[in-house]
């Protein structure tokens, strides 16, 4: 039965949400315009708040409906069918919610609603103008998932997640036979996204995106109501919160990429990554100017520009990643849903309105009477913010290349520009120097900020500088850093750690609550050091120096062996030397759901198209028996783990399990790395090619060999010796009764450096002959005991051969990557401290204001600092 009610309810609620957002915008706008009387303002505000609550309820209802559809596996709905499946564990069912565009818009809308409610409760005095902007943004966002066709015009607005499969793909032949067909199972979630980071990364990132709206709304409200300076205090804690959450969201994405994708890196300069880091950089710059905006008019103006820019950049980034404009350029952009026009209107509306308003009010903004001194804190913060903006601008200028092509196309010319071939070199050329300067400024800036240094008192900076130079010199010598640009970055980062550390120790004694800035700066500096070593000094370990192929491939020896040989081929159970390690690929393993670790694939028989497997033997892990032979167990059917044993020179052995995912319904293979984490470096390993573990081997035609005992014969280039034929009492899978007999042959096969023994059996049971062949995956060979000839004393064997199993893998070493992760933790702690401090400031001020409003007499005594 098709559950059409829940979908209709969801769709209806989206429309309610859209309409209520429009009404709320209008009502809040009326309440915010100063021309009205106080009574009218209050009436409008009450009305607007009520409508906004309707909007909140509608949005919650939409979220609930979509989750209900996914959670209950209503595969008659396209969204559920496309993004989830029965075998998906509960945690990942949640992430299939935002797997697609509509769901991720919904997530964004949901966060906005949460933030909007918090603002209404925490900040009544700014409610009307701020919520006007909020409600307008909500109207635009809900329009993206509206899915309504305007009759007559044939214009479709938005794309709804509540479409039935039958409405999306009416041409499927199955619908001709059965109009009420419901798929039994869904397509499943992209296996790469079946990762715990993918459960928390998107909500965090979207909360970051959503929260940039708050500082923006305050800036617009400040311009609109002419509270030119007052908006900064309530906006600043939110700007810090936003920078914290957005930063954490981006870093989670980076960590996920490092752990799951096989780029071999945490940052790929992909347009999708870039378009989220640029708003973050600008937001960080905005936070800095906002801190000094109440003292300095230039900083106030800059704060307006930067908070508005942050939000517009978020819209631009949304437009780039969701409109299909990136086309060839990005690995993971959303596909075009036909929303480009709508997204462009959204982007342009806010760009034009906010910039227009800013220009309109520009004249009434204050300006500084005298020039800022080079020795003032404002000057240094200002330089830092400017450099941040230039850094963001550079990333944006390159990332937008596909956009230039589109614009040129719109004007009828063909530009044919492509992203730089070597993106890393291109970005490094600028960013390395920008960040060297920026990180050095964090140290200098903190000294000026806390008035530890100033005009005629520069010597306070000498000590940290000296210490930093000494430490840097030691690190440079010890680690062998040779390139000048790396030396500069390293030295400046270490200076920042020392300088900020000095300040931190100083102010910690007074009030540790104020040290958020210094802590954050130390975090960034540590991150830069970690990035520097882990990416500039990555070493490929899996250099292929096996001599096997030299004779066969001219290409291989050409160019003095300098060509890229970073992948090596491993044959099953055949040790290969790689760098300092001896590597052996041992086995393919599968991941059971309720048993720790991975079990060999040969232990179970996977039920095709299902997430169950039948145990072929007792399943024992670490001495504990979990299942008996014949039991059905739950597994992750897409995941295969390649057991690769590393033997260190010291003889110590460790094993890595890089993963290969095979989803038969989606086709293709996807590989993810496994990482050996050491304190000073990571060993990063991934498999780039495998012989398909789910495919049945293709055997060659049977070739028969008839031999005498101890004869030598050649099979498939190997030397084989029939050592003996012995009587046996046990043959696996066969119960021997009275009068039955069984023999097994002992065939020794010589490989280059190893011997294999294959023992096929020959059974006479109930006067019938049974032959039990034996397979060696290492040799790609199957041997069957065909015949015993009592007259001649000869034995006949049937041999089939197949492709030997192999994998192609790559391993790299990433030194000091843990400093990067340590830095991210420090950064997060610093941001949390700073955010808490500014929220406290705001609450103190708000309470004082409301107290003074209640008792007007004291009003004049309130000092606004």
């Amino acid at each position: 039965m098709i559950h059409s009610t829940i979908g209709s309810a969801g769709h209806l609620l989206v429309i309610v949400a859209f309409v209520s957002a429009l009404f709320a915008t209008f009502a809040y706008f009326k309440s915010g315009t100063s021309s009205a009387t106080i009574e009218e303002t209050i009436t409008w505000k009450r009305f607007a708040r009520m409508i906004f609550y309707v909007h909140v309820a509608a949005v919650v209802g939409v979220v609930f409906s979509l989750y209900w559809i996914i959670g209950n596996h209503y595969f008659e709905y396209h969204y559920a069918w496309k993004n989830s499946s029965l075998s998906l564990p509960t945690g990942y069912t949640i992430s299939s919610f935002w797997q697609d565009q509509e769901g991720s818009f919904l997530l964004w809308i949901f966060w906005n609603v949460v933030l909007g409610c918090i603002l209404i409760f925490s900040n009544r005095s700014w409610e009307a103008p701020v919520m006007t902007v909020f409600a307008l943004v909500q109207a635009f966002l809900t329009s993206m998932i509206l899915g309504v066709v305007i009759p007559g015009l044939d214009v479709k607005i938005g794309s709804t997640p509540f479409l039935l499969l039958k409405e999306v793909m009416p041409d499927l032949p199955v619908y001709k036979m059965d109009a009420n067909f419901i798929p039994k199972d869904g397509n499943g979630l992209n296996p790469l996204l079946q990762n715990y980071w993918m459960v928390i990364h998107p909500p965090t990132l979207f909360l970051g995106f959503a929260s940039t709206l708050i500082p923006f709304s305050f800036a617009i409200a400040g311009l609109w109501t002419k509270k030119i300076q007052d908006w900064v205090r309530p906006a600043l804690p939110w700007a810090l919160f936003s920078a914290l959450v957005l930063g954490v969201g981006i870093l989670m994405g980076a960590y996920w990429a490092y752990e799951t994708l096989n780029f071999g890196s945490y940052w790929n300069w992909d347009p999708v990554e870039n378009s989220s880091i640029v708003p973050w950089i600008v937001l960080v710059a905005a936070v800095h100017t906002m801190i000094i905006a109440r003292r300095n008019a230039t900083a106030l103006k800059t704060s307006f520009i930067l908070t508005i820019a942050t939000f517009i950049l978020i819209l631009y980034s949304t437009f780039m990643t969701r409109s299909g404009v990136l086309g060839n350029a990005s690995v993971h952009s959303f596909t075009d849903l036909g929303l480009s026009g709508q997204l462009l209107i959204y982007l342009l509306t806010f760009t034009i309105v906010s910039i227009g308003l800013l220009i309109y009010r520009w004249k009434s903004l204050p300006s500084d009477e005298e020039e800022v001194s080079t020795y003032s804190q404002e000057f240094w913060i200002f330089i830092g913010a400017t450099l941040l903006c230039l850094s963001g601008f550079q990333i944006l200028a390159t990332t937008s290349i596909p956009v230039y092509n589109k614009i040129a196309e719109a004007f009828g010319t063909v530009l044919n520009m492509a992203l730089p071939a070597d993106q890393i070199a291109h970005y490094n050329k600028f960013q390395l120097w920008f960040f060297s300067l920026i990180i050095a400024l964090t140290g200098i800036g903190q000294f000026f900020w806390w008035k530890r240094t100033g005009k005629g008192n520069l010597q306070a900076l000498y000590n940290p500088l000296l210490i930093a130079l000494l430490i840097s010199a030691a690190v440079i010598t010890f680690k062998g850093v040779k390139d000048i640009q790396y030396i500069v970055l390293l030295t400046t980062a270490i200076f920042a750690i020392v300088a900020n550390g000095t300040i931190l120790l100083n102010i910690m004694r007074g009030n540790y609550g104020l040290s958020g800035g210094a802590v954050t700066h130390i975090g960034v500096a540590l991150m830069l050091v970690g990035i520097l070593f882990s990416s500039a000094y990555t070493r490929v370990v899996s250099i292929n120096n096996s001599g096997l192929m030299i004779s066969r491939s001219e290409e291989f020896t050409s160019n003095d062996n300098k060509e890229n040989k970073e992948n090596i081929t491993l044959w099953l159970n055949k040790a290969e030397k790689m760098g300092d390690y001896m590597l052996t690929w041992r086995d393919v393993r599968v991941e059971p759901r309720h048993i720790p670790g991975y079990i060999p694939k040969s232990w179970v028989d996977i039920v095709e198209g299902d997430f169950h497997a039948v145990a072929l033997r007792d399943i024992e892990v670490d001495g504990k028996k979990y299942n008996s032979k014949g039991d059905t167990i739950e597994i992750f059917p897409e995941n295969f783990y390649y057991e690769i044993e590393y033997r260190e020179p010291s003889g110590r052995i460790f094993t890595l399990f890089p993963r290969v995912q095979i989803n038969p319904r989606m086709g293709g293979i996807v590989s993810s790395p496994d990482i050996q984490r050491k304190v000073d470096k990571d060993l990063y390993t991934y498999v780039s090619m495998v012989t398909n573990p789910t495919a049945e081997p293709v055997w060659s035609q049977t070739e028969n060999f008839t031999v005498n005992l101890r004869d030598t014969f050649f099979v498939n280039d190997y030397v084989a010796i029939l050592d003996n034929v012995v009587r046996t009492e046990e043959v696996e899978g066969v119960t021997l009764g009275q009068g039955d007999a069984a023999v097994k042959a002992i065939v020794r096969i010589l490989d280059k450096d190893k011997e294999f023994v294959i023992t096929p059996s020959f059974v006479i049971r109930d006067r019938m002959v049974a032959r039990k062949p034996e397979t060696s995956n290492e040799l790609g060979m199957r041997l069957q005991f065909q015949e015993i000839n009592p007259q001649t004393g000869q034995f006949t064997f049937g041999v089939n051969t197949t492709q030997r199993d192999f994998i192609v893998m790559k391993a790299t070493e990433k030194p000091l990557i843990n400093i990067l992760w340590l830095g991210t933790f420090v950064l997060v702690i610093g941001f949390v401290m700073a955010t808490i401090r500014r929220f406290k400031d705001f609450i103190k001020m708000r309470n004082r204001e409301s107290a003074s409003a209640a008792t007007p007499k004291t009003k004049s005594k309130v000092v606004t600092a």
């Binding site: 400017t386 520009m417 071939a421 291109h426 300098k562 090619m689 192609v808």
Partner: protein
């Protein structure tokens, strides 16, 4: 001149520098014929070429070589550009996953000794996750 004006001028100068450099570093989309002339003129800038794999009538890919048991770091194939010009492409890395399924291939690199030496391969494959839609994947030959 006031400090702020000097400051503004410096920023504008840096911004212009960034734009010029971006334009200089940006690569271009060309076809193989143009790629060959560029190589002859000694222009060794890396370029993008869009094309399709050479296939026979039944859709079998032709002239594609990858033998990991001999050399896992050598992958050679023939690409046909939009003007139907065929070109051998050498990619010194393992064969990208799902390469056989790609509908469109973008190679980034340059002509070298009569073959196109690819540093990077971008592929458009029929999306595994969305019917009838294409998605892009990227593969880079690491620097030696």
């Amino acid at each position: 001149m006031k400090k702020i004006q000097i400051f503004g001028l410096i920023i504008i100068a840096v911004a212009i520098g960034i734009i010029v450099s971006t334009a200089g570093d940006a690569s271009t989309y060309v076809d193989f014929t143009k790629a060959k002339t560029m190589a002859q003129d000694g222009d060794d800038e890396s370029i993008h070429v869009v094309g399709k794999l050479k296939k026979d009538a039944v859709g079998q890919i032709l002239e594609m070589e990858y033998q990991p048991e001999i050399d896992p770091n050598l992958f050679v194939f023939t690409l046909v550009d939009n003007n139907n010009v065929e070109q051998r492409v050498v990619y010194k890395n393992s064969k990208p996953q799902d390469f056989d399924k790609s509908e469109q291939v973008v190679v980034v690199g340059k002509m070298k000794d009569g073959t196109f030496s690819a540093e990077k391969i971008l592929m458009k494959c029929p999306s595994k996750y969305e019917n009838g839609k294409m998605e892009t994947t990227e593969h880079t030959a690491a620097k030696s």
